[in-house]
């Protein structure tokens, strides 16, 4: 009987001692990984996209970035969102030559279209490459005095007091304190999903459609060093980005009111150089050039054909300067335009994932 009682006591003692106060951690949401869907032509032909190791793509991060992208809360007076100057229907650029900020003050450069940004391998953003990294790029307009004219302290406070955002940041990053780093990370994630890869020409390369004879000749003009010679700076059938993302002086001016890359590097040899834009989606991205000086593609083609202006830093690839350019025939001009328009991706501008809905 004594032995039996002793056993009971030991068991009870064991139960009691095992019931210590175990600290129960707060539930932390783990964001769901959402790797970029790399298009076939990209996968086959070019290097992998740049995804920062400290900002992986997640379902929650992308959704939050999208909400922020379309939300005027980012501006000082809550009137302007990123999408105001980067409209989806314009392949995320502005149809106006220059964009105005919240005070109606205009900038001096055309808004850059946004797509395939994760494949900007050198990670130099803006027309003059003044900013390294997509997250850093997203950081700039919020406090720019002629754009959103807010301050990060103000925006962080507004977001922190917002009925929805704290929870969304918690879900996306597991953080209860909202700061500029997390805001730009989210916007960066959304912007990296803006992939354009479904133009008629893409489908031609994939064997899904045929080009017209005009488009085919236009492609040959593009690739022919004796005619258009566009491929040295603007990609090819082997480089579906249709840009080299490098800075060139393409003969727009003899003297420069805006020195572009030169102001960033401080090197006079870089004066008048601006980033080659992608030739995708030209049907939606007018006006053209860093200052939006050309309203039509015809003007652009005429520029390279007979409108080049010489200057000290003009790119050596801008040939036949004494005659103003490569001197394309009217047929070649028309066909080149037809080819360029075949790079337009209607699915991209109509993608509901990229719209504010």
């Amino acid at each position: 009987m004594k032995k039996w009682l002793l056993h009971i006591c030991i068991i009870i003692l064991f139960i009691f001692t095992s019931c210590t106060n175990e600290p129960v951690g707060e539930y932390v949401a783990v964001p769901t990984s959402s790797p970029l869907q790399i298009p076939q032509l990209f996968e086959e032909n070019i290097l992998n996209p740049i995804i920062p190791i400290d900002n992986p793509q997640t379902v929650e991060g992308i959704a939050l970035g999208k909400k922020l992208f379309f939300d005027p809360i980012l501006s000082a007076n809550n009137t302007q969102a990123c999408a105001d100057c980067h409209a989806p229907e314009n392949a995320f650029t502005d149809s106006s030559r220059f964009s105005d900020g919240i005070d109606g003050v205009f900038g001096n450069r055309n808004s850059m279209p946004l797509f395939n940004l994760a494949w900007n391998y050198d990670e130099k953003f803006f027309w003059d490459g003044n900013t390294f990294g997509l997250e850093h790029q997203a950081f700039v307009p919020v406090s720019d005095p002629i754009e959103m004219k807010s301050s990060w302290a103000q925006l962080e406070a507004e977001l922190q007091q917002h009925p929805e955002y704290p929870n969304l940041f918690q879900q996306a990053f597991g953080a209860s304190t909202i700061d500029s780093t997390l805001v730009t990370k989210a916007i960066g994630q959304f912007e990296r999903t803006l992939i354009s890869s479904n133009s008629k020409f893409d489908n031609y390369l994939l064997g899904k459609t045929e080009l017209t004879s005009q488009e085919l000749n236009g492609f040959n003009v593009f690739m022919d060093e004796s005619r258009g010679d566009c491929f040295h700076c603007h990609g090819s059938d082997k480089n579906p980005l249709w840009t080299d993302n490098i800075f060139h002086n393409n003969g727009l001016d003899e003297t420069f009111s805006d020195i572009g890359l030169g102001a960033v590097t401080g090197d006079p040899a870089d004066n008048g150089k601006f980033k080659s834009p992608s030739l995708r989606n030209l049907n939606f991205t007018a006006p053209y050039m860093h200052d939006g000086r050309f309203t039509t593609l015809d003007e652009v083609i005429n520029h390279y054909s007979e409108g080049l202006k010489n200057s000290v830093t003009i790119d050596p690839l801008m040939k036949k300067l004494t005659q103003g350019g490569v001197g394309l025939t009217d047929i070649d001009k028309t066909d080149l335009k037809a080819f360029l328009l075949s790079l337009s991706d209607y699915e991209f501008i109509n993608n509901p994932n990229f719209k504010n809905q």
Binding site: M223, E225, S236, N239, D244, L317, M318, K319
Partner: protein
């Protein structure tokens, strides 16, 4: 008897420990450094964008871009056996990148009758592979010229015969005549032979390119005539090939 067996065993053990010649052959790594000069004067990207060189034809010129491809580094030993270093390297002087190339491939120490590399790609490498890194940096040759890849892009400005600063784009590719219905090719990749070398340790090859040589001999290059649109120019590509034969030299090997 047991003692005798032990002595015999020990004796055999000692005898078996003779020198094995193979033990002296070790695998070493190699590095190739590329430096550039204009007739002996060092050229780096710091010297770019200023007209300061004079070519054999007397034209003053600058360099704004220089990048070129090297591939198939090959070591041939005294037995005729060859060791090929994996990979290729796009030397980019403009951006001061890839001026040094090291491979994971190792080679045995020993005497080699020749070390060589290919300037550009040989035809097999040029057409039978798709290189995402080279595509990403727009290094391709259009299909209308047979496809494949550039061998070199040398660009800049020169003072032409009207004293006007004019651009030049000296691009090397495989020579192709596209004037007929079929493309007619001539091989213009260059096998650069660096000569004999004895490898005793990890080795660094210091290779020089004399940029002036591309304009010099056997063809005195007239930039007034040949300054652009050289890719579809078959004769120009042959001249580039001929001038490139002596553009590279082995400055030293350190090990």
């Amino acid at each position: 008897m047991k003692k005798l067996a032990s002595i015999l065993f020990t004796f055999l053990l000692i005898l078996s420990c003779s020198e094995d010649k193979d033990d002296n052959v070790s695998q070493v790594s190699t590095t190739f450094n590329f430096t550039h000069n204009w007739e002996g004067t060092l050229v780096t990207n710091a010297n770019f964008n200023t007209i300061q060189y004079i070519n054999a034809n007397g034209e003053e010129l600058s360099i704004e871009k220089l990048r070129y491809l090297i591939s198939k580094i090959t070591f041939q030993n005294t037995n005729g056996k060859t060791y090929i270093i994996d990979g290729y390297n796009l030397v980019d002087v403009t951006n001061n990148s890839n001026l040094s190339f090291s491979s994971v491939t190792t080679i045995p120490t020993g005497d080699y009758t020749n070390v060589s590399f290919v300037f550009g790609f040989n035809n097999d490498d040029n057409y039978n592979n798709n290189y995402p890194d080279l595509n990403s940096t727009s290094w391709n040759v259009p299909e209308m010229l047979g496809g494949g890849y550039h061998y070199m892009q040398l660009e800049g400005k020169f003072i032409d015969n009207t004293t006007t600063e004019t651009g030049y784009a000296y691009h090397a590719i495989r020579a192709v005549d596209n004037s007929g219905t079929n493309l007619e090719f001539e091989d213009t990749f260059i096998e650069v032979n660096l000569g004999e070398v004895t490898i005793t340790n990890n080795a660094t090859f210091n290779i020089e390119m004399n940029i002036a040589q591309w304009f010099k001999s056997p063809n005195t290059w007239d930039l007034n005539v040949l300054n652009n649109m050289l890719m579809p120019n078959y004769d120009a590509q042959i001249m580039i090939y001929e001038n490139g034969q002596n553009a590279f030299s082995l400055e030293s090997v350190t090990q």
